[in-house]
């Protein structure tokens, strides 16, 4: 009998281009990757330099004067870095939990319940996706000032507690859930909430994971809204803390970059660990009964 299994290729075969077209493709991908990765390299490189060297016309990746220790020491120990991290975590997790709590029932209703005006309501949801935060931020800011809730966790989370993107995403996902299972559940005596909790949610784990990543990353990286509502250092998020080295007169770029590196690191590490889940969430499949 012929051996049908292909011989295991040597590792170098996998990266060695097979033809000129392959070579061009590899080059193109390499360029793309470089464009993506270079800012990070710049960031890490600059975080090890003194400020005057960051914008030196004679740019080198390896710093001429090594100021890494000082920069990172200042970022991690000369400011309450752990408080910033905790603030970021509280805000991101808080936003995520409330978003899931509001979006999942809304998405279920839009996907599976028949009621008058559901189409219009869903149209409104789609339309709301197009409204940028910048439009609503001024009225929201004024409102928060009036009720005296500026510089609170509530103010930091409030604009994001209902995510129309989440409603849209979950609605599309729930539509694929078999109607007959929901009907069987109604015959068996499930309430609508129990249908969501016991049947829909277990099947929506990939969608929830994907959305959680999107939401968490977006709010971790958000600089705009915290910059508006946070006034004191004890409510500052990690991302916002980067701005501390910037003043009207001069900016300590070395420390700003060190701060950026430290703030980015948790997200990058988390992504590397959850990569599989993240990809599964994007290529999610429906329920097989």
């Amino acid at each position: 009998m012929a051996d049908l299994a292909a011989p295991t290729p040597h590792w170098s075969d996998r990266i060695r281009p097979k033809s000129l077209r392959g070579l061009l493709g590899t080059l193109l991908l390499f360029l793309g990757a470089w464009v993506m990765v270079f800012p990070f390299i710049w960031m890490i490189s600059s975080s090890l330099k003194p400020t005057d060297e960051v914008y030196d016309s004679d740019f080198t990746i390896i710093p001429k004067t090594f100021k890494g220790w000082e920069n990172y020491y200042a970022v991690i120990f000369e400011q309450p870095y752990l408080i910033f991290l905790m603030n970021s975590l509280i805000v991101c997790i808080g936003i995520l939990v409330i978003q899931l709590l509001t979006a999942i029932p809304a998405a279920y209703a839009l996907a599976k319940l028949k009621f008058k005006g559901s189409t219009i309501l869903f149209g409104t949801v789609i339309a709301a996706i197009t409204i940028p935060i910048n439009v609503t931020s001024i009225p929201l800011y004024i409102g928060l000032v009036k009720v005296g809730l500026l510089d609170t966790y509530f103010a930091m989370m409030f604009p994001f507690i209902v995510s129309v993107f989440a409603i849209f995403l979950f609605r599309q996902f729930f539509r694929g859930f078999p109607d007959s299972i929901i009907q069987a559940a109604r015959v068996d005596g499930f309430s609508e909430i129990e249908i969501i909790l016991r049947l829909i949610l277990p099947s929506a784990v990939p969608a929830m994971a994907a959305f959680s990543v999107f939401s968490f990353v977006a709010h971790w990286n958000d600089l705009y809204w915290p910059l508006i509502v946070v006034q004191s250092q004890d409510k500052m998020t990690a991302t916002l803390s980067m701005m501390q080295y910037q003043s009207a007169f001069d900016t300590d770029y070395g420390r700003t970059y060190a701060s950026a590196t430290v703030v980015t690191a948790p997200m990058v590490i988390a992504f590397l660990f959850a990569r599989r889940l993240f990809i599964r969430g994007i290529t999610m499949t429906g329920v097989k009964g």
Partner: protein, 395 residues
């Protein structure tokens, strides 16, 4: 144990009417099939009984009590779905326990993890498990209780769905095409099992199917729906032998009934060269329904000879094609006088294991009709009464 009465049920989806004024009574312990082509409204009617849809008008009574405004769970019904609708993330045992958990525990005790903590939950837990195991043994799925639905075969899923419906001991058992996702062999087997289940449980069954064989073999009575109208309700044999209209006659019976155009004459109905000695009520053109199995072939090689029925009217059939089904053959052809109307003849072989080669070679065959087994319809397809004419028989 309950009787079920549907009175004047009407339903439309938007502008499209799906059910026109349906009334149907199902006696306690009866097995009634709702049968019809897809889109005839049979599933909608079943879902109205279940409470998953509400009728635009009309009423549903279970044991004389209107359940029109009750939620599905308060109707004490159970339903088996075409795709089984098992809860994908629960084991077989949990699937089957769900109706009991929902019925016996209050909401707070049903929350995740609470069942084993709260006293009510702890008390009912072993009792529910006992009942689930009893039903599982009855359906021979007790070894599957820890599996997930995805790990089961189609037939096993089907049984789990039946089991989940049975545990709650419903008053009315509703089934929506439960066999259509099974392969042909299994379908026959489960068909028998459902019939036995009906006999042993004594429950009232309402069974939706598009397959007339299922409807005919399983039910006490068959209700035939077409385009939202209830065409006829009756015992399976009554629908076959005494259909109220051409539509019913067409639907029941396989292969489909042959339709031939006949003309009224003074002493009978003319069909090509044959004069059928019957008098038919009404006026105008007559459509003659001829069941393929009532036709017999005279002097055909390899087929059972009809024998002393030589006095029956004969017609020449131009043969087109033969299907050999083993013990019998299906002959497709057309009568000499009407070459466009397809006529099928189902005939028994004289030797069940014999070949049909001789028949395949034959160009035309003499076919005999038994006037007593013919069905007559008017131009609109309404059934006409027919009486044998003694005088004509002599001629």
């Amino acid at each position: 144990m309950a009787r079920l009465d549907l009175s004047n049920i009407k339903k439309s989806f938007g502008e499209t009417p799906v059910l026109h004024d349906i009334s149907l009574n199902v006696a306690d312990g009866e097995f009634v099939s709702l049968v019809g082509q897809s889109g005839c409204g049979k599933s909608t009617l079943l879902r109205i009984i279940a409470g998953l849809e509400s009728p635009d008008s009309g009423d549903i009574l279970i044991d004389g009590v209107s359940v029109r405004d009750s939620a599905p769970k308060d109707r004490n019904i159970a339903m088996v779905f075409q795709d089984y609708a098992l809860y994908p993330h629960m084991s077989v045992g949990e699937n089957m326990a769900m109706p009991l958990v929902m019925a016996r525990l209050p909401l707070y005790a049903r929350l995740p993890g609470m069942r084993s903590v709260i006293p009510v939950g702890r008390r009912t837990q072993p009792e529910i498990r006992g009942e689930v195991e009893k039903v599982a043994r009855q359906l021979r799925i007790d070894h599957l209780l820890d599996r997930k639905p995805a790990q089961l075969s189609g037939g096993q899923r089907q049984r789990v769905a039946l089991g989940r419906a049975l545990v709650r001991n419903p008053q009315v058992f509703l089934m929506d095409e439960p066999l259509s996702n099974l392969d042909a062999k299994l379908r026959v087997q489960v068909r028998t099992e459902i019939t036995e289940l009906h006999a042993s449980s004594g429950l009232t069954f309402v069974y939706v199917t598009h397959d007339q064989v299922e409807a005919m073999t399983m039910s006490n009575r068959v209700a035939l729906l077409q385009a939202g109208h209830l065409l006829q309700v009756g015992a399976p044999n009554a629908l076959y032998s005494d259909p109220a209209s051409l539509d019913v006659a067409r639907f029941i019976g396989s292969p489909e009934i042959n339709i031939a155009a006949g003309e009224r004459e003074d002493n009978g109905v003319r069909l090509g060269q044959a004069l059928l000695p019957v008098s038919v009520t009404g006026q105008g053109p007559v459509q003659i329904g001829i069941r393929p199995e009532t036709l017999s072939v005279a002097d055909a090689p390899g087929l059972i000879n009809p024998g002393p029925s030589a006095h029956l009217p004969k017609l020449t059939l131009r043969k087109r094609m033969i299907e050999d089904l083993g013990p019998e053959v299906l002959i497709h052809g057309a009568f000499d006088h009407a070459p466009d109307a397809l006529i099928r003849v189902r005939a028994q072989k004289s030797d069940a294991y014999g070949a049909s080669d001789d028949l395949t070679r034959a160009q035309s065959l003499q076919v005999m009709l038994n006037p007593q087994q013919l069905l007559f319809f008017d131009a609109q397809g309404q059934r006409l009464e027919a009486r044998a004419q003694i005088a004509a028989e002599v001629a």
